[in-house]
Every structure is written in structure tokens, then in C-alpha cells.
């Protein structure tokens, strides 16, 4: 038991600092959402969220101090979700190149369109 390995014990300052950073970034995201960045809003929002997620994973979840295999498993899951979404978007965003698709209601007779003019020439569905 002589080489008993003690877990990394972080000073309280680290936890409080990370929480303060997370609160600050939350305020920034909310503030930025009310500014029109001309199409960049979604990217900025996801960017800030990713930075917040990294803070949580590296410090609160101790990935920075753990064996690297855990960080590896976590990264794999994020990469796979990225591949999953990217390949799906390649498909769905380019369908209009092959087929004549226009945006329109799935069900034109749905109750929610009662007080709203629905373009009857719009495509049936995607």
C-alpha cells in the first residue's frame, strides 16, 4: 500500500472560478442572442456552449487530471455525433438539387392553419 495513489484534490478556488466563468458565459450568450450577427448567431451560440461544456468536462468532471483514456472515450462520442450530424446534413441540405422541393405544410388541413393563409401550391412535404 506504500505507492497508494491519491486522487487529485483540487483547491476550492478552481471550482468557484469555473462556476463564475460558466455564469459569465451564460450572461454573454443571452446578451449576444439579442444582437443580430447576420447569420453568425447560431455559430456563436454553439461556440460559447462548447467552451462551457469543455470547462465542465475538464474541471468538474476531472478529465484534465484523469487517465487520458477517459478523455479519449468522451472525444470519440463527440466526434461520432459530429459525423452523424454532418453526414445527415450533407443529405438533407442537398436534396433540392435533385428533386423539386418547396417548403410547405405537412398537413394543410391542420387546425393551426385555420386563421392563416396557407399557400396551396406549396409542396406536399419534404
Amino acid at each position: 500500500m506504500s505507492e497508494k495513489h491519491k486522487e487529485h484534490i483540487l483547491p476550492l478556488k478552481v471550482y468557484l472560478g469555473v462556476a463564475a466563468a460558466l455564469m459569465f458565459l451564460t450572461a454573454i450568450t443571452v446578451a449576444v442572442s439579442f444582437v443580430d450577427l447576420g447569420g453568425w448567431n447560431a455559430l456563436v451560440a454553439v461556440g460559447i456552449a462548447t467552451f462551457k461544456a469543455l470547462l465542465v468536462a475538464l474541471f468538474f468532471m476531472h478529465l484534465l487530471y484523469d487517465k487520458k483514456i477517459n478523455l479519449f472515450v468522451f472525444s470519440i462520442s463527440l466526434i461520432m455525433v459530429g459525423v452523424f450530424i454532418t453526414l445527415t446534413m450533407f443529405d438533407t441540405l442537398r436534396r433540392a438539387d435533385l428533386y423539386d422541393i418547396t417548403d410547405g405544410p405537412i398537413n394543410k388541413n391542420a387546425k393551426m392553419y385555420e386563421n392563416m393563409p396557407v399557400d396551396s401550391t406549396a409542396g406536399e412535404h419534404h
Binding site: Y15, S33, V46, V81, M112, Y113
Partner: protein
Amino acid sequence: MSDHAANRPEFLAHHFSTVEQQRDSAKLGMWIFLLTEILLFGGLFCAYSVYRAWHPDMFYNAHKFLNVQLGTLNTVVLITSSLTMALSIRFIQVNDKKKAILFLVSTLIFASIFLIVKYFEYSHKFHLGQLPGKYYTFNGVEGSNPHIFFSIYFAMTGLHGIHIIAGMIVLVWVLVKMINNNFSAEYYTPVEMAGLYWHLVDLVWIYLFPLLYLIG
């Protein structure tokens, strides 16, 4: 080897040779479980991306019916609960059981606040008929297929809410074990694993909040 057997702490399962090996295995196993959780939510994030790409204007119009104040409040509540969870683990690491219990209870309180706020948000939408799929009866959103936004909203926040409830059940179990003196600076793996799960739930919300409430 007889010396080795005599030194075995009671929390060390017979199929592990050292405490460290047991802890590393538990952690790796937990991270593999979290990987499956991320993939589970990944499917919903994919559905979100597809429908937002198809109906960007409808998503923008529909998201205005979500309450940004309540969403921000819940984000702050959940980040605070993540902090108290991390602090609970930090204090059991230095054998300060009293503070570890205090912060574990705080985590449960913040989790309850999150669910109460969510209850008010949900009941407001139920009242207006902003419900998923064919149950959607609201007609104030401009654009076609607004029910899709609310289907995605309820699927994502609903699955997240179920995770909050599951996390709370695990935290209560950990709390009971902690009160019964089952954990110490030498052995606190279940507290740590429950913490990892709780932080993951926070992590998912970090993405849900801007994607649903703050569409620019």
C-alpha cells in the same frame, strides 16, 4: 500474498487486485456509459439540425414562445447544482463528511428548483396547446409546421427532464449511503460516478438552452 489479503479493504471487490484498479475500471465504465448517453441525445440534436435547416423562419418564430427568463434561470440553477455536486466530491475527498452531505443536499434542492421551473413552463404550453405533433392546437406561430418545433422542444427537454429525475434518484441513494458512513477519503467512487452523471445532464442543458431559447 497472505500479507496482501490481510491488507484488503472491505470495499475492494475480490476480482480487483488494487483499489486504484477498481477505481479506474469504474471510471472507464462510467465514461463508456456517458458515451452512450451522448449518442442518445445526439440523435435528437441531429433531428433538431435537420428541421431547423429545413424551416429556419418557423424555428425563429416559434422559439419566441419560449420564456428566455425562465430558461436563463434554469441554466443558472443547473450550473449551481453542478458546482455543489463537484464541491460535495471535493469535501468527501478530504474526509469532511458534514460539508459533503450539505453540498449533496444542495444539489438535490437545485435539481428540484429546476423541475419546478420546468413544470411552470410546461403547464403554460399545455394550456396554450403548444403540444407535440397532432396534439398541437395553437395558432399564433407564423410559418408552416410549427408543431415540429414543439415536438422537438418536448422530446429534448423531456428526455433531459427524465435524466434529471434519474439523477436525483441516484443522488438520494448516494446521500443515504453517505449518511450511513459508507464513504470516506479512501472510498467514494459511487459519489464520483453520480457526479459524472450529474455533470453530463448539465452539459446537455448547456447546449439545449441556446439552441431552443436563444435562436438569433
